[in-house]
């Protein structure tokens, strides 16, 4: 999310599932769509049947995706930036990039300040004593007298982003990258031949990734490298192109949009941080600077969106005179992400925890540490239809002694998706309304009912007194039934209305910063208009035959199906490939998908396609927006079998997030010689499916995938039991000895990789070792996402 927002402007899958059918090349990395998104993957296979699409899969494991891919390349877990850097280098040096696109739709021509560079593992500005980048002044553009970035349209200036990028990746030659990744030079060349074939107007390729890229100590940079490659090839904004982030759970997209995320407010507005004392302070940090006169810089409307949100939440209590109740918003003083929460619990600083449809005991990382953290809480609430490893930790966790666990635990039975209506937003940003089909069993209740009941009790209590009660007492709760609001009503609040007329708004373009409009989440403005609930639409027509299905459900923003679609057409407004138009200028207006600028603005206006960025173009150079550097660089996982070949003294990402209190000890290759990676299988979804009999039958037991050669060395037999250990703990599992996990040659040494699924635990129809007992408590430098995908283990026969 962070990476795509930094590169393109919005942190979301650029295209949508159906759109895969337009691709010539499907570049699948850090993902296993055949197993984890099977029905979305359908369109990849449709594309191949229809147009001979090449499906390429790069992964540490040969999976069910590899089984149907045209080309599979193995790779050592955690080395994808090296692989992608090699592709970037090859595209530039062999002139395989889409030149016109790169010149006009990317930041390649922009000039970077003198002095910017990269040496011995660090970008300019590193301070050894502070162990941080203390001077990021060169991570910036050269500005002209109007404050716009200077440019060299020929891309020849040595300070141009293009030349700096070329120089940065010149080190990623095929031999070095082969030694790092374990893929052979021949395999890498073949990969380049296929993937780089789309760097021309008549071809288009899409890139798909999932948690195989986010779960690294430098996952954000990994995704950014992929996004940069797609910009170089001119694939972003086009049908059949883009960078498709495959979200995991049914509504992980929707509830990221709705800001169940420590750093966000709905619609990707930022939570104000301590020190931003007024709205003006907050805007000065968060309203982006315009670097190009032709950039729309749409986020200059940020104040309208935030003020409309404050109006939605606090109604008449939010007035211009009180800075629209800005002081009601909490202002974190430090990162407060998942890892921070469990670090706080582990160190006894957190009192209570409310978990909703989520089980940290299994998810970890480092499940033993998380279970210990749960035991440090005063109270724990689990809202779920089933018992979870988290709700049962005090009695069922290995070695648990209930008498010694002083945590008070509440298990509140909640309803399922089928027992209530409401919208799910899929990975492709389509918000789809669903029916309520059934009543709740027993005393199970809707989550919204539980929240409302809690709110009413808290409100009553604060009416009698309490600390800073205004935000609670003044919270808008004007629902027809204030004890049980309908989801339709809430949906209308999310969309927003004109407060002077009371009418639902049709577009976020109508939002104002004077307190006369409200909108709970500006990107959903347009989803529930005066014409009704747009998300409930079920029309199956597809006028452009491009698979947009504009009247099936509703997608944000403004029902746009492919983001940045201005980039699907050339400067004259004609599609790069006439057989696959996104939008096109017909002489009078733009037709096709929904453009993200006025539809009558002619191409001669020169509107830039990436409207959310101050540059208006796709970013290769991320300025100071990411903590570990403006260009992605290959760093080893924190636990790695080898030093970093590019800069042995700076092996891991210097900004990877570590927690001394939980565990800042890492395994070394002499004790833990094998690279481990965790994953999901198609038969299960995390832990809830351990309650589904047919799925337990279909994939019954915890297993680990072990290369045939390693099994022979260790006397492990297929189907026998093995013990897997990391510095954090150990588990037992069935050995699946397989040719699909090939030993790799890494820097002259044989490296074995071991695959560890995460679905089992001490609760469920079948019980089994928890994969996350083994994972390390390390976070991505930027997103603070735990690094589940590359760590070290040892394996032995039981």
């Amino acid at each position: 999310m962070v990476s795509l927002a930094t590169t393109f402007g919005r942190g979301a899958m650029t295209n949508h599932w159906r759109d895969l059918e337009h691709a010539d090349v499907m570049f699948i990395v850090g993902a296993n769509p055949a197993e984890n998104h099977p029905c979305g993957f359908r369109w990849a296979l449709v594309a191949r049947e229809k147009r001979g699409t090449k499906i390429v899969h790069v992964d540490p494991r040969f999976t069910r995706t590899s089984a149907v891919a045209d080309y599979y390349m193995p790779i050592r877990a955690g080395t994808d930036i090296a692989m992608l850097g090699f592709l970037i280098k090859t595209a530039i040096e062999k002139n395989l990039y889409h030149e016109e696109y790169v010149k006009h739709y990317t930041s390649a021509p922009l000039l970077v300040k003198d002095g910017f560079g990269f040496k011995d593992g660090y970008f300019t500005g590193w301070s050894a004593s502070a162990n941080d980048y203390t001077d990021k002044s060169t991570w910036a553009y050269q500005l002209d007298s109007s404050g716009y970035a200077k440019q060299d349209p020929t891309l020849q200036d040595p300070q141009s982003v293009f030349q700096l990028m070329k120089q940065h990746y010149s080190r990623y030659d095929v031999d070095t990258v082969s030694k790092i990744t374990g893929a052979t030079a021949e395999q890498l060349q073949k990969l380049a031949d296929i993937v780089l074939s789309t760097g021309r107007p008549d071809k288009v390729g899409c890139a798909l990734y999932a948690v195989g890229y986010t779960h690294h100590s430098k996952g954000v940079q990994m995704i950014r490298t992929l996004a940069m490659l797609q910009l170089l090839l001119g694939n972003v904004g086009r049908p059949g192109g883009g960078v498709d982030a495959e979200r995991g759970h049914a509504n992980i997209q929707g509830n990221t949009d709705n800001a169940i995320s420590w750093e966000l407010l709905p619609g990707y507005l930022r939570i104000p941080l301590a020190g931003q004392e007024t709205l003006a302070d907050h805007f000065s940090v968060n309203v982006p600077k315009k670097f190009d006169p032709k950039s729309i810089n749409y986020l200059s409307n940020y104040p309208k969106f935030l003020i409309s949100l404050l109006k939605a939440w606090w109604g008449n209590a939010a007035q211009k005179s009180n800075d629209f109740a800005y002081s009601y918003l909490p202002k974190p003083g430090a990162p407060s992400s998942w890892l921070d929460i469990f670090n706080a619990a582990y160190t006894g600083k957190l009192q209570g925890l409310i978990m909703n449809g989520m089980s940290p005991a299994n998810i970890g990382p480092n499940s033993n540490a998380v279970i210990k953290a749960l035991g440090n809480l005063k109270w724990l609430v689990v809202m779920d239809p089933f018992e979870t490893a988290t709700s049962q930790f005090w009695k069922d966790a290995p070695g648990a002694d209930p008498a010694k666990v002083q945590t008070e635990v509440f298990l509140l039975p909640t309803t399922h998706w089928l027992e209530k209506d409401g919208a799910f937003t899929n990975s492709g940003r389509w918000a789809q309304w669903k029916d309520k089909a059934l009543g709740a069993p027993g005393d199970a209740k809707d989550d919204a009912w539980v929240f409302t009941q809690l709110y009413q009790r808290l409100k009553a209590a604060y009416q009698k007194g309490g600390t800073f009660s205004d935000p609670i007492l003044n919270l808008t709760w004007d629902y027809l039934d204030p004890y049980y609001p309908s989801l339709t009503e809430i949906s209308k609040e999310i969309n927003g209305k004109d407060l002077t007329t009371g009418k639902q708004l049709a577009s976020f373009a109508l939002l104002k910063d004077d307190g006369t409009t409200s909108s709970g989440d500006w990107i959903y403005c347009g989803s529930f208009t005066e014409d009704g609930n747009q998300m409930a639409r079920r029309k199956t027509t597809d006028p452009t035959r491009m698979g947009f299905y504009p009247e099936w459900a509703w997608s944000w923003p403004l029902n746009r199906r492919v983001l940045y679609n201005r980039a699907s057409a050339d400067l004259q407004g004609q599609p790069w490939d006439p057989t696959r138009p996104g939008i096109l200028w017909n002489g009078k207006q733009w037709v096709g998908d929904v453009p993200d600028f006025p539809p009558t603005s002619p191409p001669s206006d020169g509107i830039k396609p990436f409207i959310m960025l101050g540059e208006g173009v796709g970013r290769f150079f991320s300025l100071g927006l990411l903590v570990d550097g403006p260009f992605p660089e290959h760093y080893e996982p924190v636990e790695s079998p080898t030093p970093n070949l590019l800069h042995p003294n700076v092996s891991a990402d210097p900004k990877a997030v570590r927690f001394p209190s939980v565990q800042d000890k890492f395994g070394t290759p002499d004790q833990f010689p094998y690279v481990a990676t965790t994953y999901r299988v198609t038969e299960h979804e995390h832990y809830v499916t351990m309650n589904v009999p047919y799925l337990v039958e279909a994939m019954p037991d915890m297993f680990v995938e072990i290369p045939v050669e390693l099994a022979q060395e260790k006397g492990i037999v297929n189907g026998g039991r093995v013990k897997v250990r990391s510095l954090r703990g150990e588990i037992e599992a069935v050995a699946v000895v397989t040719k699909r996990m090939k030993p790799l040659q890494v820097n002259g040494k044989t490296v074995y990789q071991v695959g560890i699924p995460i679905h089992w635990g001490y609760v469920g129809i079948h019980k089994g070792g928890m994969g996350n007992t083994l994972t390390n408590f390390v976070g991505d430098a930027n997103a603070r996402t735990p690094a589940f995908k590359a760590f070290l283990v040892n394996v032995e026969k039981v």
């Binding site: 992980i252 509830n255 990221t256 407010l265 018992e387 899929n426 209590a461 609670i472």
Partner: protein, 197 residues
């Protein structure tokens, strides 16, 4: 259990005798001998449109529900399959989607609020009103005790770091929005979702 010879003999006798009843003197059927195809189990069902609760592809699904909601006819799902109208999945479902009936109609569901006191060896059933009263007290008490109005640098921060909330990848947008609205209003900084992990 496997068939024993005795079992086989018993079966042979029983089957033979049973079959003999409806046959002609020749021992062959005279009228229809067709396999008894099951009646279509969804023939009398009502259809509801839904969206799969598992991954973020967002497959459309149809839930087939039997039962007219009369006092003694509690509706139940008898089958779920893909919605052929959906442009996303065109009627297909993966193994998880295809077994969602078992996810909802499931004997392992928790049916009553459960409470476990510190150090207790087991759960205790509680009514919703009891459990919510208790929980509201915990939330208020924790919030008020840990609330920071002004931080050490003198900034107005109005935040509570005493408790965290997380979850929400499995419920709908409106519930997620309500959760964010409520807990931010309480000053919560620790608010996270499945997206992070």
């Amino acid at each position: 259990m496997v068939t024993t010879r005795r079992g086989f003999i018993k079966l042979g006798v029983g089957a033979g005798a049973g079959l003999a009843a409806g046959t002609s003197v020749l021992g062959f059927p005279t009228d229809k001998v067709e396999a008894a195809t099951r009646t279509l189990k969804i023939a009398q069902a009502r259809e509801f449109h839904s969206v799969c609760p598992y991954c973020a592809v967002g497959c459309g699904m149809i839930a087939y529900v039997l039962g007219d909601e009369a006092r003694n006819a509690v509706p139940t799902v008898v089958h779920i399959e893909g919605d052929p109208d959906s442009p996303i999945n065109a009627g297909a479902l993966c193994p998880k989607g295809a077994t969602t009936m078992q996810l909802t109609v499931n004997r392992r569901r928790v049916l009553k609020p459960l409470y476990r006191a510190p150090g207790a060896a087991d759960w205790k059933e509680m009514s919703w009103s009891e459990v919510l009263d208790l929980l509201a007290q915990r939330i208020k008490e924790t919030r008020d005790r840990t609330f920071v109005t002004v931080d050490s640098k003198g900034n107005t921060v109005n935040r509570q770091e005493g408790f965290a909330v997380a979850g929400g990848a499995a419920f709908s947008n409106e519930e997620g929005y309500l959760m964010a609205k409520l807990f931010r209003a309480l000053g919560t900084v620790y608010i996270e979702q499945q997206a992070r992990v």
